[in-house]
Symmetry: C2
């Protein structure tokens, strides 16, 4: 069975989504906008809704990026839904482990065991300068901190045993022998514990991770219980899938970690209709905005580039110090398609180089099945180019096909995110 999350973002993942006449850009501060989309995803029996997070506004004239804070959004969504998982990104660079453990444990209790934590290390200096740093710590330093952060969070969740709460009115509230300090003293953190929140319903909220770099893959192999991957095409998906599954096994873990590449879909009743939807959106895209976005991805001065000329040569992957996955995708597109600058911008405008599938519901279901059956994916992190239209197209037309083929659940069989993902509830470690 596939696992499918809905990754909600602004008005949609296409940079021009908010410019669409039907966009709900006026509702980005309205929690019901997000609740309605989560309800739609729940109607489609999806595994989870997924939120990224950022700690700075970049290029805000170009379109919405962040608005509401993700843990508060997901808490509200938890009260408007019954089954769907709730995955929030929390940065290991800007929080303390106690804050992260506490927020996630609280969401897990409030939602009855539906919380997931997508751990990221963050990347931009503009974000760092909102949280006390003059600049971001280096890549290796961030990942060393993330490793220690995760260990402290897991220990905090384990600081209360199941059954620690006695509620014995004539005796003790808690069995003290089942609650303990963690006394963490590491290079980056000092945390005594125990957590103020008793053990979460899932034991541990599900740990998601995304990371294409060597450090990112190493962290995923050791800790991730589900992975949000970036793969432009099936060969790159397969290479990543093989590598990370092997690393998980090499780390001695028995768990089958679902790998879920990001997926942008344009769906129409004919292929031509789907392509027209995509083109209509691309045409709403101001060239300057896209060039600035590209600049952010590849760390080159692109603003003077000729739109209809071939993309100039770029430094090799090894020389690039930003997020490797996206940069590798750009190099791959250039290598395999020799695009003009304008063509490259089109490719990147929706989902920043994640896989794009365009066609009828059957065609999209076919491609998804092809990836699923050929070692490219255990499912997908859906990145709707326009919300809620693309979500609706997917839920109403692709999900029923996947269900008929026996590739996706007909209904929820579990009440927790761990249940949906086929992950066991961890004991104390």
């Amino acid at each position: 069975m596939m696992h499918i999350n809905l990754f909600l973002f602004g008005c949609g993942h296409h940079n021009a989504a908010w410019r669409h006449p039907d966009s709900q850009v006026e509702r980005l501060g309205d929690i019901r906008y997000y609740e309605e989309m989560a309800q739609l995803a729940e109607r489609g029996k999806l595994d989870a809704v997924f939120f990224a997070d950022g700690h700075a506004t970049n290029n805000i004239t170009d379109g919405p990026r962040w608005f509401l804070e993700p843990v508060t959004m997901l808490t509200a969504i938890s009260r408007a839904t019954r089954h769907i998982g709730l995955v929030s990104t929390i940065s290991s660079t800007f929080f303390t482990p106690f804050h992260a453990a506490r927020l996630m444990a609280s969401l897990d209790h409030i939602s009855g065991g539906r919380a997931g934590w997508n751990v990221v290390t963050s990347m931009f200096d503009v974000e760092a300068r909102n949280h006390g740093y003059e600049a971001m710590p280096g890549h290796a330093e961030r990942y060393a901190r993330a490793e220690e952060f995760i260990q402290a969070v897991l220990q905090l969740w384990d600081s209360w045993d199941d059954g620690a709460l006695l509620n014995d009115r004539a005796g003790d509230y808690v069995d003290e022998s089942r609650v303990r300090q963690i006394n963490h003293r590491g290079k980056h953190f000092l945390v005594d514990g125990p957590l103020t929140v008793p053990r979460p319903p899932q034991g541990h909220p599900v740990l998601f991770q995304a990371g294409a770099s060597e450090h990112g893959r190493a962290l995923a192999a050791k800790h991730a219980e589900a992975i949000y991957a970036v793969a432009y095409d099936l060969p790159s998906a397969q290479a990543y899938y093989r590598d990370v599954k092997a690393r998980v096994k090499a780390a001695g873990r028995q768990v089958d970690v679902p790998i879920l590449p990001g997926l942008v879909t344009f769906i129409g009743s004919t292929e031509a209709e789907a392509r027209a939807k995509q083109r209509a959106l691309d045409e709403l895209l101001p060239a300057e905005t896209s060039l600035r976005q590209l600049q952010l991805f590849i760390d080159q001065d692109c603003m003077g580039w000729e739109l209809d000329a071939p993309v100039p040569p770029l430094p090799p992957l090894e020389a690039f110090t930003g997020p490797k996955g996206r940069y590798a995708t750009v190099l791959r597109i250039i290598e395999t398609e020799r695009p003009t600058v304008r063509q490259l911008l089109g490719r990147l405008a929706a989902g920043g180089g994640h896989c794009t599938m365009v066609g009828t519901p059957e065609q999209v279901a076919d491609q998804m099945e092809h990836w699923f059956r050929n070692g490219g994916a255990d499912g997908f992190n859906l990145m709707p180019p326009v919300q809620p239209d693309s979500v609706q197209d997917f839920v109403d037309h692709v999900i029923p096909i996947l269900q008929r083929r026996g590739l996706f659940r007909e209904d929820y069989e579990h009440t927790t995110l761990r249940g949906h993902l086929g992950l066991a509830r961890p004991g104390r470690q």
Copy 2:
């Protein structure tokens, strides 16, 4: 008109509340427990629900203190209510200003302008050791940090003007001239801004503060928009009220800052019934627990004290380095009543020395009116000794009397917490 908040805490503010046969101690992880009490408070047209916060478990065998994290709780409550304000405590010692500003702004958007922030500096070393400190910074240092913290938070809320969002599909998403960096570089914080969340519906979520110390009063005079006070009796309430109102005026502020002392009520259809309720709860109290609580308040080794002997002499207020307000109350009880240790424990068991009113609904309404008409209070922060029973008694029997006397609103006239409290919406400062 009075302002009345409901301060929810565990199973109630009486240390033995959870031991009561009717207590809902088994539901402390169930968000509906809190939603139901907030709905009850909203039925009584109360101004707000109010949550304290702590970052460590103390003496957990004795009874519940913390469970769910307050901002997530209040977010859920916001979706189960329509009018009532939502006040969360957030520590200026353990968060960054960006986190605090973002969480509160998000809650304010989600709730349609009902968020309040009770700023505290926190106090216990066991809390500090969950967030990277070996011990708490000193009192003066914490308040200096709080002052800088508040300034940064206010600037972050002001970093987006009203009307900054253009949502112009053919042009810009945002009017860049109405969004700005704050470039804060202080002794404790570095924050560039702008916030990721556009200006909150209330402009600024309402700033609550509580603090009896010199530093606390100075901070309140400068920044507080509503004050949660501790006053054991009317003379101490009047002294605090006069002093803080004068300080607010001296600070050059035009605003009338509501002062709301904590209030514990035991209500019965006769005075004898009310006293029996109080006694029944006191009798559930294990002496050792109460002595340990007292030890925390007065920083003396109390465990060997004889229960039926007079309270031993205590050091003067000036020599005490912990929270001054509670200590002053203990000194005042000892001075005016010469109690035995057991009698003192009884006084402190519910609400830790806040005012307690016991009697029929008319008697309690009379005392509240007396405080209100005689310069002791602009309203109260209700501290129900047992939840939900004490809340129900108050909402069903005291509120209607206050309404008949024209002392409390018959219905909500506003949609925001600022509206309920009679506070103007601030412009950019």
